[in-house]
Symmetry: C2
Subunit: 228 residues, 2 copies
Amino acid sequence: MAQDIKILEDRLQYHFNNQNYLLNALTHSSFANESKNRSESNERLEFLGDSVLGVVVADYLFRNFPEVPEGELTKKRAALVCEQACCGFSKQLGVGDYLYLSHGEQNSGGRARSSILADAFEAIIAAIYLDGGMEEARKFILRFVLPLLKGHTQKSFKDYKTALQEIIQQNPEEHIHYVLIGETGPDHDKHFTVEVRLNSNVIGRGGGRSKKEAEQQAAREALSLMGY
Amino acid sequence: MAQDIKILEDRLQYHFNNQNYLLNALTHSSFANESKNRSESNERLEFLGDSVLGVVVADYLFRNFPEVPEGELTKKRAALVCEQACCGFSKQLGVGDYLYLSHGEQNSGGRARSSILADAFEAIIAAIYLDGGMEEARKFILRFVLPLLKGHTQKSFKDYKTALQEIIQQNPEEHIHYVLIGETGPDHDKHFTVEVRLNSNVIGRGGGRSKKEAEQQAAREALSLMGY
């Protein structure tokens, strides 16, 4: 059925006080429904783990990207907690080998099915959370999420203002500032236009639904025009 | 502008170490965009607070309804954290009077707008979480969620098996058990049918995607036939 669970615990870098949590997290509904002793499926754990994953990632993004507006944080979190991401984390851990599946599910490739692996990852999060508390769950989650976040950040999740500032401040005589040059629309649907200036020269312009977003877009344009 | 913030803190039953968190939570984007001193809107706090609310409610439901299947927990959580619920919580606290809004937003009824009040409630959750930690946030959230949950539970969120058991065990000679009488469909799309029997008499029948769900439905039918 499943391989020695202690090897999986080593890979998780977490050893359970109560191993039943882990066994429960590895039990797919197909197995639970088939089993004579009425073992419970991991669906309830997945429900809980999904929330724990959500708050740990939200907390991390909120604290570590103080300049990034809410819309970007939301997109980023979605990318870090989606099925594809969680399935990938499960594969890194080799969770598929340890799942309890029905024979039918097993024969039809269940051990490699993306939804099953993703759900099991979230259920494992809940198992660690229930067994060891929020800080253990956080440690476990960030071990997988941070490398993925780093990859994303380099590709697409720039805090453009900070990046621009870091480039400019290499020369202490240069000075950047942002100027609001336009504001249109009613209160609930404003559009702002901002210029970023290097000393007195306009080096980028951007628009958005908040000043912050417009500034980010202006910095983005400046970086792009500067060849970054 | 806004009334004395200490009165609001009394209503929150939480007094901030750093009141700026609360002021930030009360600042609508319309005000932030208009203000000269570039105050930050509560949108980022709302992003964080939404997750904190989600995990606190998930944790509570998971621990307190051990017999309720995942699908029901998900529906219940959605009802407890939706805009309507959060707007209601804000109204209980009178948050509308304390919001920082642009003049335009204020004149168009912003202090009573459901989305604004709901967002502010989530932002206040994040403010408490950042200022006092998860346990303070949990205390705050459950003070509002539990009465709502209780109302829902009485109306629609029965753990039918437990309810049935409680009624039957008033007579110690009576004995309930559940019998699986049918199982159809492929592994990934099973349907189960279960009968609930009182001694040897069938008193209800139910179906579902798991044995647990089918049992709940069988208990529900029994309760209904018994006039509950």
